[in-house]
């Protein structure tokens, strides 16, 4: 059988176009998708911004104004005392200062306190990127909004000489912070702390999901797994469809005439597809890890689990390749065989979430998708990224092995027995 496997691998290796399509294209697509969807250029480490905080607000005056406003309200004295006690604990200006000087923000923002005139001059000279202006009456306004539900009169504004990526990012971050602060008060979460997590843009590591104690997986990891499985399915077709040429050019008949059992031909295709899918996985993962560090800080156990699941999937690819090969020889019309295999692959690709995540689709479709070989592999690997529970890998591996056995059994049953038609 070695001769058959070697022949198939050699034929594949000699076709430069196919090598490019099968081995380099997935890497290229993963890199492009990663750049396109993850905002790699927006890596927070690459951004640095110098800002001045111009404070026009007076805390004491603001608290007095707020106390007067509370007194004028139609509330019981008990309620008034409770609101004033809460207001005494909150310093909105200090919250913003603490936020801007938090460890996460310090990595990309340098803050200094300046007067408006000085700040404007430095922005004009290019020494500063932007000004965060805390307007007069901010304390009163914030407390009235947070504790009395009054409409906002004014808010923190960000001024800059020119619009830039850094300024936009700063605006987004500050507004997120203010909105979070408002929302938490609105929900009655009085235990708000300045150390609450700021919602930061996480360039290159956009979080797709992560709850119930699981590690988050990134969009890059999703693309890597999805594209790897999709291209492996294509590999099953690539190997199998060589049979069309072998049939048309009578090479298959010549092989039959050597008196070898025809199943050797089928075994050759199956094992070749398995080996090529494994090679494809290894090359893609190595390249993507090297270029994008898609799976950072992962343990050996993680990599072993990943390889085990992918090898089980490669086995399924071998089984599908056998099925497509047998179909090609079974059907008199090679185009029909090619059409059926394309339909199966595209169906698996779409249902299994290799083209797009299934989260947005109706529940029944998601359920069906999870039972496709690629869908199950993706789900298993994403859970492996999140939870790393070794037990969770058992079912997918067994399921993929079962798909291989069923595909191969069907292939053998429809494969020409002795070359007689």
């Amino acid at each position: 059988m070695g001769a058959f496997i070697y022949k198939d691998l050699l034929v594949f290796w000699r076709n430069r176009k196919e090598i490019l399509m099968a081995l380099l294209l997935p890497i290229l697509i993963i890199v492009i998708l990663n750049f396109a969807f993850s905002g790699l250029f927006m890596d927070e480490k690459a951004i640095h911004i110098d800002v001045a905080v111009v404070q026009e607000d007076d805390l004491k005056k603001g608290k007095e104004q707020f106390a007067a406003a509370v007194e004028a309200k139609d509330l019981s004295s008990q309620e008034k005392n409770a609101v004033l006690a809460e207001a005494a604990r909150i310093d909105p200006v200090q919250l913003i200062h603490d936020f801007l000087n938090s460890a996460d923000m310090k990595e990309w923002v340098t803050v200094k306190d300046l007067s408006e005139r000085e700040a404007a001059e430095q922005v004009k000279n290019g020494e500063l990127d932007a000004i965060i202006k805390i307007p007069e009456g901010f304390t009163d306004d914030s407390l009235s909004r947070l504790l009395l539900g009054e409409p906002s009169q004014g808010s923190v504004s960000i001024l800059a000489e020119e619009e830039s990526r850094e300024v936009s990012t700063l605006q987004e971050v500050v507004h997120n912070f203010v909105n979070t602060l408002n929302m938490q008060f609105a929900l009655g979460s009085k235990g708000f702390q300045a150390s609450s997590e700021p919602v930061l843009p996480q360039g290159g590591k956009e979080v797709v999901e992560g709850d119930d104690g699981a590690d988050a997986y990134t969009i890059s990891q999703y693309f890597t797994i999805a594209i790897c499985t999709l291209f492996a399915l294509f590999m099953a077709q690539t190997v199998a469809l060589k049979t069309i040429t072998e049939k048309r050019e009578q090479v298959f008949n010549r092989i039959l005439l050597t008196n070898r059992h025809p199943l050797f031909f089928l075994f050759g295709k199956t094992v070749s597809a398995f080996i090529l899918a494994c090679m494809q996985f290894m090359m893609t993962l190595a390249a993507v890890q090297l270029l994008l560090n898609v799976f950072p800080d992962k343990t050996i156990t993680f990599w072993v689990g990943l390889v085990l699941v992918l090898m089980a999937f490669a086995l399924t690819v071998g089984g599908l390749s056998a099925l497509f090969t047998a179909l090609t020889l079974h059907l008199s019309d090679s185009n029909a065989a090619s059409g059926i295999s394309t339909l199966i692959i595209m169906g698996f690709g779409a249902l299994g979430g290799s083209f797009f995540p299934l989260e947005g689709l109706p529940e029944p479709i998601q359920k069906v998708g999870e039972w496709t070989p690629n869908g199950l592999t993706q789900t298993a690997l994403i859970e492996w990224v999140q939870y790393s529970h070794l037990n969770d890998l058992m079912f997918p591996i067994l399921f993929l092995a079962a798909v291989f056995i069923i595909s191969f059994a069907i292939s053998v049953s429809i494969f020409p027995k002795r070359g007689r038609s």
Binding site: L10, V11, R254, R420
Partner: protein
């Protein structure tokens, strides 16, 4: 050695091969002639165990091969009409793959590959990819691949289609050598009558799925023993003159050629004086008049009413 008994193949109720009986003695070189669609390739595929006959049998040394073609395949080499090779592999790699498939022992295979390459004259090109070869070179490797297991019987299905004269001569010489020196039994199909005449001791002529004549070259020629073929070269062409000749006594068929006319007439005819007389009347000069020795082509034309390349 190898024979077919009432070999028949039908596709959708249409008989493509109709009760063919043919045999090959050991060491013989036999030609199978027929126009396109005559059923030659289907016959060969059935003999080679690639297509199951609708009825009839293929026997090797008196034993049926239909149920178990294994013994036949061991002694049979088939050169298909198509280039049944991997274009992406070199000549050597192709031969090595097919040699291994034939289970030729490793050490023996290396020797055998060089032998067959030498036989087809491509030893010095063995490392080159098939896709870089000319059509003729590909056909030579196509033959080499069928010889790896040293077959006793070699079936060649139009092995010289569309190739240069040099490769064609090489292939003919190879087949002749295999038959005469190595004693290989050959079944050769071709469109080219001269190849069959040159190589084969016996010929089967097929048309519409049936064998319409068989025998040695001489035996087939004798079919035309009651007729003569006459080539006439004329100073100019004239439809009126051709029509006139058709009406002459003893003339069976008249065909216009580039030089003049080709006339099929009864043996012992008295055509020349009538021809001269008719030419004078039309003002045409007879430049040459030759009674031709009949060829297999003439036999074929006589039997089927068409030429081999029709």
């Amino acid at each position: 050695m190898l024979e077919t008994v009432k070999l028949t193949k039908s596709f959708k109720d249409k008989k493509v091969v109709d009760e063919i009986n043919l045999y090959l003695h050991a060491g013989e070189s036999v030609g199978l002639l027929g126009p396109n669609g005559a059923g030659k390739s289907t016959t060969i595929s059935m003999i080679a165990s690639l297509i199951r006959p609708t009825s009839g049998d293929v026997k090797l040394d008196g034993k049926s091969t239909i149920q178990n073609p294994s013994d036949l395949r061991k002694v049979l080499g088939v050169v298909p009409q198509e280039i049944a090779l991997y274009e992406e592999l070199s000549a050597y790699e192709n031969l090595k793959f097919f040699g291994k498939a034939y289970r030729v022992e490793r050490e023996r295979l290396e020797v055998r590959i060089q032998e067959v390459l030498d036989m087809v004259g491509l030893k010095d090109r063995q490392k080159e990819l098939i896709k870089t070869f000319s059509g003729g070179m590909k056909r030579r490797i196509n033959i080499a691949a069928a010889l790896l297991h040293n077959p006793r019987i070699l079936i060649l299905d139009e092995p010289t289609v569309g190739i240069d004269p040099q490769s064609r001569n090489h292939i003919l010489e190879t087949v002749r050598e295999l038959n005469e020196t190595h004693g290989t039994t050959v079944l050769y199909t071709s469109h080219y009558m001269e190849e069959v005449e040159q190589l084969c001791n016996r010929v089967y002529i097929m048309d519409h799925g049936k064998i319409i004549a068989t025998g040695s070259k001489e035996e087939l020629m004798s079919i035309l023993s009651s007729e003569d073929t006459i080539g006439v070269q004329l100073s100019k062409r004239s439809e009126a003159f051709t029509d006139k000749i058709k009406t002459l006594p003893d003339v069976l068929q008249v065909e216009q050629t580039k030089e003049g006319l080709r006339i099929l007439a009864k043996k012992n005819h008295n055509l020349l004086s009538n021809l001269v007389h008719a030419a004078e009347k039309e003002g045409i000069q007879i430049m040459n008049y030759q009674v031709e020795i009949p060829s297999l082509e003439d036999v074929f034309l006589h039997l089927t009413g068409k030429t081999l390349r029709d």
